[in-house]
Structure formats: structure tokens, C-alpha cells
């Protein structure tokens, strides 16, 4: 079997082994292996600072790995960096378009850089701008674009010459639901034309919607990998959230719930709220009945889909947002 094929003999877009990148003492990427088949969407799921962006930058030739090797679209990342660059495109976490220029100028610039002569650069730029629904904003400075428009322009710039592999770094972070749906539609359209997409996200539902396979990343390592169904199954049937009327009953409620669910019960920072993992949905009603039988009044309860936070809780035994707070404290 060829080294660049996966087990089903599909050609691989990315084949990486043991990637490591250190910034000083901090190991931002700490031994990542990847085998991503062509024509699929692969999701990196993880909190801020998990190493998603750094891994993407390595694979897009922007950073040299300290250890490990990788082949991207069949080309060695280091020895054939130029060949890799001509096959991939990157849209960064912070829109990598020029804010001072307008929409069409940004695309003309990229088209000229990709080798279009001046006149066809203009033609190609307006064609792509229209395809991404931005023709009305062609002459507007990007500074004045909404977050969603900026993101679309950013992806449009990557599509001037359709890459074989597109890196999308958190394409919907900070966007409203409508813009998020637009981006999702764009990603689906791209994949249908044969582009492989490597997408990073902090949202499980986004990975769920788009990605064929997902790698959960934490502290520069892949801690779980599989289809979204496989990941969710590992998390259990979701989470029971309970809010009590009286905060003084919370300790007792925690004890009752953990007995009824035979799972650890998490106390949230809100003094009346608790949550716990469910292994089966039916356990939820039994747990609520146990509270009722002990005269603990519940003001609100809900059954949640597993969130990224819960995936993390299950996989690492700690919450994903504690990581975010640490990041916040650092900056």
C-alpha cells in the first residue's frame, strides 16, 4: 500500500506524523498525527490556545515544525514548500484581507498575485465577488463590512484559483447565526467541487454540521478522533441542567443527583445551578423524581445536547472554558 493512501486506498490530502512546535518552553503543538483523505471536510475541535491555529500554520508552510514531518497533497512540507503553497490556501482566524482597500481591489490584488494578467484579474475578481454575493459591496472599503461579509470576502479571496486544500481557521467565530449559515453553505459548495477542507472550530455543532471526521485537540495533542457520531457516543446522551429555587438546597441536590445518575454532578458558578452527564435519557426523569421526593424545588430543568464543554469534560476530566479563562488572564 502506498504511504500516501489511507486504509481504503483513497489518496490523502494531509499525512502528518509527530508534528511538534514549541514557542519558548511552551509546546503549542505536541505530537500531532494526521491522515486526512482528499475530498473530505476534517474538523479540528478545541478551545482557544489548544494548538489548532499553530497546526494549520505549519501545514500551510507559515511555520516550520520543530519535529515531525508531513506531506500535503503529496508534497513534502519542507522540501517542496512552493509546491504545497500552490495547492493550498489559508483564511486566517483574523480576516486576512486588506481593510483599507475595497472588496473588488482585494480580489484583484490576489488575482494578480496568482498570475492573472491585469484585465482578466478584474474579470475573475468580479466573477468571484458575485458568486459570493458581495457585488453590491464591491466599491466599499472592507473596514465598513460586517463580520460575515468580511469572512465571505476572505474565503472568496482563497477561491480566486480554487485550491485543492483549504484551511479555514475558525470561520464563524463571532458571527451571527445567519452569517454562520451562509458560511456553512459556502463550505458545502466548496467541498462539492472537490476541495478538501480542514476546518477549526470551537463549536461542536459546527463540526457536527460540516465535518466528516473530527479531531478533538487539547494542549497540542489530539485527545480523540472520529466521526461526530462516535464522539457524541463517547460523551453520553447529553447533559441534564437543573436550577433550584433555593441555593441552600444545592448540596443535598448534588448528592441526590449523583446517586440517581451514578455520574459526577458539576456545580456551576451560578449558586442555584447544577449539571450532570447522562448515560441514558431515562435517568433524567428518575433524578428529577428523586429531587421531588426530597422536597427540593426545581425552578427550571433542561436536557442539553453535548457541547464542546461536555466533550472536554468527558475526555479530559476538566472543563474547556477553564482553558479560555487562563488565555484571557494571560492576554
Amino acid at each position: 500500500m502506498n504511504n500516501d493512501m489511507d486504509t481504503n486506498n483513497q489518496p490523502l490530502a494531509i499525512k502528518a506524523t509527530g508534528l511538534v512546535k514549541c514557542f519558548g518552553k511552551h509546546r503549542a503543538v505536541n505530537g500531532i498525527d494526521l491522515a486526512i483523505p482528499q475530498g473530505t471536510v476534517y474538523g479540528f475541535l478545541g478551545p482557544n490556545g489548544a494548538g489548532k491555529t499553530t497546526t494549520m500554520k505549519i501545514l500551510a508552510t507559515l511555520l516550520k515544525p520543530d519535529e515531525g514531518q508531513a506531506k500535503v497533497m503529496g508534497h513534502d512540507l519542507i522540501k517542496e514548500a512552493d509546491a504545497v503553497r500552490s495547492r493550498v490556501s489559508l483564511t486566517g482566524q483574523f480576516a486576512s484581507v486588506d481593510e483599507d482597500l475595497n472588496g473588488i481591489e482585494n480580489l484583484i490584488l490576489i488575482a494578480r498575485l496568482m498570475g492573472y494578467p491585469s484585465r482578466s484579474a478584474k474579470k475573475r475578481a468580479s466573477e468571484i465577488l458575485e458568486a459570493f454575493g458581495l457585488q453590491d459591496a464591491a466599491k466599499r472599503q472592507v473596514k465598513k463590512y460586517s463580520g460575515g461579509m468580511r469572512r465571505r470576502l476572505d474565503i472568496a479571496a482563497s477561491m480566486i484559483v480554487r485550491p485543492d486544500l483549504l484551511f479555514l481557521d475558525e470561520p464563524t467565530t463571532g458571527l451571527d447565526p445567519r452569517s454562520r449559515n451562509q458560511i456553512w453553505d459556502i463550505v458545502r459548495a466548496l467541498v462539492s467541487t472537490g476541495t478538501t477542507v480542514l476546518l477549526s472550530t470551537q463549536y461542536l455543532d459546527e463540526a457536527d454540521q460540516l465535518a466528516d471526521r473530527i479531531a478533538v485537540i487539547d494542549h497540542g495533542k489530539i485527545i480523540a478522533e472520529g466521526t461526530s457520531g462516535e464522539l457524541k457516543a463517547s460523551v453520553g446522551s447529553g447533559v441534564l441542567h437543573v436550577r433550584l429555587l433555593d441555593p441552600s438546597t444545592r448540596d443535598r441536590a448534588q448528592q441526590l443527583l449523583s446517586e440517581a445518575l451514578s455520574a459526577p454532578v458539576h456545580l456551576s458558578s451560578d449558586p442555584v445551578a447544577l449539571s450532570a452527564q447522562l448515560t441514558r435519557t431515562k435517568a433524567a426523569s428518575e433524578a428529577l423524581a428523586a429531587l421531588d421526593a426530597n422536597q427540593i424545588e426545581v425552578s427550571q430543568f433542561s436536557l442539553g445536547q453535548p457541547s464542546l464543554d461536555e466533550v472536554f469534560l468527558t475526555l479530559t476530566g476538566k472543563r474547556a472554558d477553564s482553558e479560555k479563562q487562563k488565555e484571557g488572564a494571560k492576554s
Binding site: T91, L101, L113, M114
Partner: protein, 267 residues
Amino acid sequence: MTKMRAALVEQERPPCPNGIATSLAFAWRALLKIKYIPEQLLDVTFFPVMFTLMFTYLFGGALAGSTSQYLQFLIPGILVQTVVFTTVYTGVSLNDDISKGTFDRFRSLPIWSPSPLVGALIADTVRYMIASIIVIILGLILGFRPTGSILGIIAGIVLVLIFAFSLSWIFTVIGLILQTSKAVMGISMTLLFPVTFASNIFVDPATMPGWLRTAVNINPVSLLTTAVRALMGGHTAFTEIVWVLIASAVLMLIFSPITMYLYRNKH
């Protein structure tokens, strides 16, 4: 979505671009910015006007006997000073670009890797040219009467542009090392003030103490000023021109490889 699919699928790959084409595309980008941020040109215009007026009318009479005589001496020097100061913006705008993430995309493109920098420097040269023309016109209005030919004046400007282009590479290095564009501005100005004032731009160094006179005389800015004065005055200061060209070459040879190294390894 069908429209999008069509736009994505039906396309021929363009031919691979060459380094000149990509550098010119980046120069085009930098020049477009002047259209959107015309304030950039304020420094280029305001600074020389202020300095010329101040020095001519405050000190000119005392230094050269009369303001009109002082203008003949000052204008070539102000030309040098203005353009030299303008080179700082190369570093500042490079630093801005990097902090905004635009450069990440450029660096991931399959293009000749120095072209974003070379393009920016080409555009800056246009900016230096605008600054030069403003200084010369202002001088002519105030009473600067060069005795040299038009060709001499043009040759003077070209020499200034060559030196400025080479000097810019120092500021690209500073722009790549420092975190913020404000810091780039601060450090660069701190470097440039002594270099331009400890020169023969404003006064004849004859009255300076010996050690300072030596420093002033080997300062490339003084050599450049002497060369430009000579060219605009109708003769050729051959030695100075050669020294200016050597200094330019040395600056380029040292700082352009450092710039490229930092640029490639920046994260």
C-alpha cells in the same frame, strides 16, 4: 449556490506569475492606500514646508547674511532631510500589515517571497518622488534659483531616491523586530534626528568642534547633501556621488538579507 459552484469549477489556472509582476501588484496595493489614507501625504508635505520656513526665516539671516542666500544653501539639504524622514514610513506600514494578519495570506501564496517588500519599496519610491517635487516647487516659490541645468536637478533627485531606497531596508528590519508601529516610529525618529542634524544640511560644519566636524563629514547624509548641492549648482561632486553609491550598496547588502531572514521566520 449553483452560481458559486459554476464560478469555482469553470476556470483555467492562470500561468505562474513572475517576481516582477507580483512586486508590481504589491506596489499597486500600496499606492491605492494613498487614495484611501491621503493623510499619509500630509507628513510628506507638511514637514518640509515647516522646516524650510522655520530655518529660512528664523535662522537664515543670521546664518547666511540674508534669507534668500540661505535658501540656495538650504533647499538641497531640506530635500535630503525630507526624503530620509519619509523612509520611516516603510517600516511603520510593514509593521501595520504584519499585525493585521494580511501578511499571513501573502506568505502562504506561491509567489517570489520578497515581492511584498519589494512592491512596498517601489511604492515608497513614488512617495519619495512626490516629496522631492514638493520641496523643489516650494523652494522655487520662496526664491531658490538653482544655477545647474534641469538634468542636474533631476540627477540630484535620483541620487536622493537611490539612497532612500537603500536606507529603507534599515526600517524594514526595525518594522519586523518591534511589536507596534508606534514603537517603530519612535525608535526610527530617535535614530534619524541625530543623523540628519549632525550633518551639513542646515549649517556649514566649519565652525563645529573638530571631533564633531569629522563625524559630520563622514556622515552619508552630509555626503549626499554635498553631492545634491553640487548637482543642482551646475557641477559634479564626483567623490561624494561615489561615496553615496557605496553607502547605498552597503546598506542594501547588509539590511536586505536581514529583512528577508526576519520576514521568512516571523510568526
